[in-house]
Amino acid sequence: MLTVSTGNNAVAAAVRQANPAVVAAYPITPQTEIVEQIANYVTNGSLKSKYIPVESEHSAMAACIGASITGVRTFTATSSHGLLYMHEMVNWAAGARLPIVMANVNRALGPGWNVWAEHTDALQTRDTGWLQVYVSTVQEAYDATLMAFRIAEDRRVYLPVMINLDGFALSHISQQLEESEVGDFIPPLVLDHAIQTDAPAGYGCMTSSADYFRIRYDIERSMRDSVQVIKETEEAFAQTFGRKYSWTEEYRCEDADVLILAMGTLGKEAEVAVDILRNEGVKAGSMRVRWIRPFPELNLGDRELVVIDRNYSFGFGGILATSIRAKTGKECYNVIAGLGGQEVTYHDIAGFVRDRRIGEEFWFGVDA
């Protein structure tokens, strides 16, 4: 069914298709529309979930944890300070190996008070054991949410998945959306370690150093295994629904001399910048990074790299650029742009490529 939808409503529509038993959520700008829409679905009976209107994001994730350990499907959504407020339980969800799915509408962190897009919120949780995908269109927000349940609930993974969409720049814009009947694309959840009262066990109890260490290692092994599960899921999705995704979305990369790497909506804008640059005779390509955890193998060759980060790790650098340097050993021109919803046009992005100084860092609009 073709409709016009915002990014937020696309996530809610996908959640309705996935039919979780429990949704626990707290509203926060710019995520609010997701939980409002889910509340509407539950009220009008088109979604059979138990909706728990919790008193905080810490409790939102805690309630999802409590529900998930009984073996049922769960969902929540948050943003920015909400994600930071639930950070403790974000760790707990991954450590407890629970396939919770969460949408995070990326937003800046105060102070100063700012509700617009930035990726620093989600990237502060990148070491928690959650899989993280960054989407760039309304359709992709819908599709990634559907795939997230199947990936998280695969017994080779049993780790939570976070779908990231840029605040306002994607959450509140309207685009065409094709909604699909999911059918058996998301199989019923079977959680091998679900609580059984006829087989009592202790969950999350004290562990020795050796056992704790092994549990951490198991998370990393599953994170590595999730690479294969993501690939399989994206292939199955393409076969079922005809829409294809992969680790990186590449645009005119085959013969490119310079690559633009970015996440989320800026990665999509970069495709227009590529066309502008190509018209000028610059052989540019765009490589939008979708998954930051697990981090993709990047086929960069010997091309020059312009990496745009809508985030920053103070005292160090843009987080995507840092990750690329660490993973590939290649230098780049690191542009810090779009923090707090700063407007970045495709003309600006083309300018970053024209003015690139490999090995340097540039704060767009601030740096002299």
Partner: protein, 293 residues
């Protein structure tokens, strides 16, 4: 005890301290609840006496969670069981720190939302498993490792905060009166919706008395009226027998304070304040029980 399960849900040889009354409380709670029960436990003494993985001293599933999260995790569990049509008891069992301090927001939210669960606060009046630091539940004048000169604030009135949520059932109890405790747990679990129990749990190392005195100290708390026992069903309050007796003929407060090393340096002023608190509390409870307030 009659009317409870003959099965044991806490095995012998836990890592509880000698004379630990909270493990005694839990033994009775679980016997009253039976095997179709899941326990949610935040950071507290209970998460320690459960033992170290892969061993457990509990014969029911126990879900350990972060300090502030017990009531919210229980909310999620209760909703999930309801969605599956299961009637499993969800019991959150948390210490006073995890209830009156860091966990109170989640508890208040769960009560307000009508969560179908039983939340039990076992109150040893300090952060017990980390070596007795002050909590909001520590009484005035009690020495802890973070109030070495004696606490300068009165105990937080948790029960009236809980009562303000107008829940179907709440009760106070004491480890020294197990029959009363069991009856209250059974009654709580027979009611749908949010239930709360606040149970005094004397603690030998923290309160500094000999482990053999756990029951005597608990009884003396009730006899002096510093700990009152009652049930509240919505707005109807019923005083429990030992507290009715304490209202008629209270034991001297000094006898209770002298039993415990934590009160060794308490001032006369603090004793006066505590006495005033006891009188005020009992007066209010009596008026409520008689329907005259």
């Amino acid at each position: 005890m009659s009317g409870t399960s003959a099965s044991e849900y806490i095995w012998k040889c836990t890592s509880a301290c000698a004379g630990c009354s909270s493990s005694l409380i839990l033994r009775h709670v679980l016997k009253a609840a039976g095997p179709d029960t899941v326990l949610v436990v935040p950071a507290c003494c209970t998460s320690v006496l459960q033992g170290v993985w892969p061993n457990t001293s509990f014969n029911i599933p126990v879900y350990n969670v972060a300090f502030a999260a017990a009531a919210a995790v229980a909310s999620g569990m209760a909703a999930a069981f309801e969605s599956m049509g299961r009637t499993t008891n969800v019991i959150a069992y948390a210490g006073d720190g995890g209830t009156v301090d860091i966990g109170i927001q989640a508890l208040s939210g769960a009560l307000e939302r009508g969560t179908n669960f039983l939340y039990i606060c076992y109150d040893n009046e300090a952060y017990g498993n980390t070596g007795m630091q002050r909590s909001g539940s520590t009484p005035l004048g009690a020495r802890t490792t973070t109030t070495p000169g004696g606490k300068t604030h009165v105990k937080k009135d948790l029960d009236r905060i809980i009562a303000a949520h107008h829940l179907p059932y709440m009760a106070t109890a004491c480890s020294a009166y197990p029959q009363d405790l069991v009856k209250k747990v059974q009654k709580a679990l027979s009611i749908k919706g949010p239930k709360f129990m606040h149970i005094l749990a004397p603690c030998p190392p923290g309160w500094r008395y000999d482990a053999s005195q756990t029951i005597e100290v608990g009884k003396m708390a009730v006899k002096t009226g510093i700990w009152a026992m009652y049930e509240r069903e919505y707005d109807s309050l019923t005083l429990s027998g030992p507290t009715k007796a304490a209202m008629i003929k209270p034991a001297p407060l000094e006898d209770y304070l002298k039993m415990q090393g934590r009160f060794s340096s308490i001032s006369e002023d603090a004793i006066r304040v505590i006495r005033g608190e006891i009188e005020r509390n009992l007066r209010l409870l009596k008026a409520e029980a008689e329907g005259t307030c």
